[in-house]
C-alpha cells in the first residue's frame, strides 16, 4: 500500500541552528502515526514543515502522491492540524470558532451547520457550544482545537502534542478521542514526548532525536529491533529472592536484578525461565503475588537509541 504521506530528505535550519536533518518518513493511510522524542528534538518543526508553514531547506513532502508545494491548497483541504497551543480565538464561542474555521476551509454554507453540530457532539462539547473559548477548561479547549481541525472532515489529522499540559484524566479523554477519530478512517499523525502514551496509541512510531530520525516502525518492530530479550517481573509473598535466584540461573538468563520488593529477570527464553520460576516457587513455602512478562518499554528503547547516537538531547 503506498504511503499517504511521504516525507523525503527534509532538512530545516533556522540560521545556524539545524533543526531537522534529512528526515525520511512514509506514513500509511488510516493509521495513527506517532513521532516521539524529547522536547526540542524538532517534532513541531517537522509537523509545521509537513503542512507547509515552514519551507524545507531541502527535500519534499507529498500527500497522496501530490507535492505539497504545488498542491498546497488541495492538501490543506484534506489535512487538519491541531497544535499544542490550542489555535482558537478565545473571544469567540465554540460554535463561532467552528463556523469561522469551517468557512475558511471551504465547507459549504449548506453543510456547515450540520458539520458543526456533528463535530461538537463528536468532541462532546454540546453543553458548551455557546461558551467563549476562553471560558473553557484546558481539556475542553484542546477538544475544541481538535474539533476545529476536523470541521472540514480531513482525511489526515496532524496533532502536535495533543495531551500536552493536560492532567491524566483529560489526557485519557483526548487519547480516547484520537482513537475515535482514527476509527473513522482518518489518518492521525501525532507527536508526543510522552513515550508510553505513544506506545499505547500509535500503530507506527518514529523516534526523533536532535532533528534526526533514529528509528521508525510499529511498536513491536521497534522492540524487536532493539532487543530479543524479555523481562520477567516477579513479586512473592515473602519477598525473599536469594534461593530463587540460585535456582533459576541458566545461560538464557542474562541479568537478575533484586529491586527490593520485586525481582527483575532478563531472559532470552521467557517460557523456560518462567517454568523454572514456577517450579521453584512451588517447591518453596512462598507464594506468587504478581508475575509479568514484559518486552522492553519504548522509553528504554529510546534511551538506548539516544545513548547509541552519542548526542545529548537539545535543551537538556
Amino acid at each position: 500500500m503506498p504511503a499517504q504521506i511521504e516525507v523525503k530528505n527534509i532538512s530545516k535550519s533556522f540560521g545556524k541552528h539545524e533543526v531537522l536533518k534529512d528526515i525520511n518518513l512514509e506514513i500509511p493511510a488510516k493509521k495513527i502515526f506517532g513521532i516521539i522524542g524529547p522536547s526540542g528534538c524538532g517534532k513541531t518543526t517537522l509537523l509545521k514543515t509537513m503542512i507547509g508553514f515552514w519551507e524545507p531547506d531541502s527535500g519534499e513532502v507529498k500527500y497522496e502522491t501530490r507535492n505539497l508545494k504545488e498542491h498546497s491548497n488541495y492538501i490543506r483541504q484534506i489535512v487538519g492540524f491541531a497544535t499544542q497551543e490550542n489555535c482558537v480565538y478565545p473571544k469567540l464561542t465554540v460554535r463561532e470558532n467552528l463556523e469561522y474555521f469551517g468557512t475558511l476551509s471551504n465547507v459549504p454554507r449548506s453543510t456547515l451547520k450540520s458539520n458543526i453540530d456533528k463535530v461538537i457532539r463528536f468532541v462532546r462539547l454540546e453543553d458548551s457550544s455557546d461558551e467563549l473559548a476562553e471560558n473553557l477548561s484546558g481539556g475542553m479547549q484542546r477538544r475544541l482545537d481538535i474539533a476545529c481541525s476536523l470541521i472540514h472532515k480531513p482525511r489526515i489529522l496532524i496533532l502536535d502534542e495533543p495531551t500536552e499540559d493536560l492532567d491524566p484524566l483529560l489526557r485519557k479523554d483526548v487519547l480516547a478521542l484520537i482513537k475515535r477519530i482514527n476509527y473513522d478512517d482518518t489518518t492521525v499523525v501525532m507527536t508526543s514526548h510522552l513515550l508510553h502514551e505513544a506506545e499505547q496509541l500509535c500503530d507506527m512510531i518514529a523516534i526523533l532525536h536532535n532533528g534526526r530520525l533514529l528509528k521508525c516502525g510499529t511498536p513491536e518492530e521497534l522492540r524487536k529491533s532493539f532487543s530479543k530479550e524479555d523481562e520477567i517481573h516477579l513479586i512473592t509473598l515473602k519477598r525473599k529472592y536469594s534461593d530463587l535466584i540460585k535456582k533459576i540461573k541458566s545461560k538464557d538468563v542474562k541479568k537478575i536484578e533484586n529491586a527490593g520488593n520485586r525481582l527483575i529477570i532478563r531472559t532470552s527464553d521467557s517460557e523456560g525461565t518462567l517454568s523454572k520460576i514456577l517450579s521453584a516457587i512451588k517447591s518453596s513455602d512462598d507464594k506468587i503475588v504478581q508475575i509479568d512478562v514484559r518486552k522492553p518499554s519504548l522509553t528504554e528503547i529510546f534511551e538506548s537509541l539516544v545513548k547509541k547516537s552519542g548526542e545529548a538531547p537539545r535543551g537538556h
Binding site: F14, F101, L104
Partner: protein
Amino acid sequence: MVKLLEVIKKNFKILIRSKSSALIILFGPLLLILLVGTAFNTSAFYDIKVGSYSPNYNELSDSILKKLQQDQYKISKTKSEESCINGVKTGAYHLCIIIPENLTISQEADNTIQVYADQSRMNLVFAIRSAIIDKVGEKSKELSESLTSIVVGQLEETKASLEEKQGVVKILKDSNEQFTSGLVDVETQVTNLDFGDDNILGQFKNKTAELKLQTNDTRTLTEIDDIIKVLEEKIANMQLASDAIANTIPSLKEKAIAESSQLVDLERTSSKIISNVEAIKVRDVETLVSPIKTSMHAVTAEKTHVNYLFPTLIMMVVMFVSLLLSSITVIREKISRAYFRNYISPTKAVLFIAATYLTNILIVVLQLAIVFAVMLFIQPELSSTLLNIGTAVLLITSSFILLGMIVGYIFNSEETSTMGAISLGTILMFFSNTIVPLETLPVSIQKIVDFNMFVASDTILRNIIIFESGLKESLPEIYILLVHIAAFIVIIATIYNVSSKMFNIKRYFHK
C-alpha cells in the same frame, strides 16, 4: 466573499468582546472629539493673564490696561519689572507688559511699551501678543488722531486767515500803484514848472518897466515893485519847494515801487501758502494717522476655534485611531494562537489582508460618520461638501490604516507595536503645521515634509471643510496619498508572510 465577510465578522466580534479595546479604540476617539468640540466651541480666549509693571501708572497707562480688561484679559499689576517677567517664566502670566514711567504724549517722553512673552508657547503667544499689540495700537491711534486733529485744525485756520487777508494785501497793492502813478504825475508837473524870467514874471517886469516910462506914479510903481519882489521871493520859494519835491519824488517812487514788489511778494506767498494748504489732499485725521490701513478679511465666515480646528482634529483622530487600530488588529492576529490555523487553511493571504483593512476602515469610517453627523447638525452648510469629505476621508483613512498595518507586521508585540504607531503618528504630526508652522523649518526639510501624509491629508480636509472647495483643488495632495497607498500595499504584500515567519522563528528560539 463569504470568507471575507466571515473574517471581518470575526474581527469585529473580537474587538467588541475585548472590553478595553472596545472602550479605547471604538469610543475613545468619539469621546475625544466630543470633549474638544465642547471645549473649543468659542472664538475668544479665556483666562488670559497679563502681568503689567510701570514705575508710575498714569491716566494714559491705566486707560491702556482698561482697554485690555474690557477684552477679558486678567491684568495683574506687579511690584517690579523682574517679578512681571518672572511671572511669564513661571507661567503665572501669559504675557508681561512693561509700561514706561509717566507715559505721556510729548517729544521728550519714551513711549515704548515692552511686551514679554514665553516663546515656547508659540501658538498662544502669537495669538495673544498680536491681540495686545492691537489693543495698545488702538490707544496709540486715538492719541495720534487727537494730536493730528490739532495740527490739521491750525492749518485750516491759517489758510482761512490768509485767504481773508489776501484782499487787504490786494487793496494795499492797488493803493500803492495809485500812489506811485500819482507821484509820477506830480514829478512831471513839478518838472514842467517854469519859474524863469522868460515867464510871466519877466513879462510882468517888462510891462512894469514900460509902465514906469509912461507914468510917474512912483507910489504905485513902488508898490508894484514890492509886489514883484514878493512875487519873486515867492517864486523863488516855490522854485525851492519844487526842487525839493522833485528831489523827494524819486526816492518816494523808489520806496513805493519797492513796497509794491513786497506786496506782490506777500500776495504771492500767501497765495502759495493757500495753494499749498489746498494741495494737501488728505486732511482727514484718520487718514493722516493711518494712511495705509490693513484690514483682515476671513476668506470664510467668522467661526469658532473648533471650526478651524476641525480638519486638524479629524486628522489627528483619523491618524492615531487608524495607526493604533490597524497595528493592534494586525499584531493581535499575528500573535494569536489561531493565526497558525488561519495560515494553514486553504485561504489566500490577500483575503486576510483585505479583511483586516476592511475591518479597520469600517470602524474608522463609522466613527467619523458619527462625528460628521454631529458637525452637520452644528454646520448644516457642510452637507454640500459631504461627498467630497467622504471620498477624502476614505483615501486618508486608507493610507493611515495601511501604514498602521505595516507597523503591526513589523513589530512582534502589542506594546512595541503601540509604541511604534504612536511614535510614527507623533513624527508625522510634529512635521506638520499642527505644532510648529512648517515655514519655521529649513527649506530642504520643508520640501520633504510636503510629502508628509498628515500634511497632505490636513490640507485636503481644510480645503474641503473650511474653504468648501472641491477635490480638484487638492489634486497634488491626493496624488501624494495615492502614491503612499500604492507603496504601502506593495510593502504589506512583501512583508505579510515574512513577518509571520519571523515572529514564529523568534517564538521558536524563545520557547
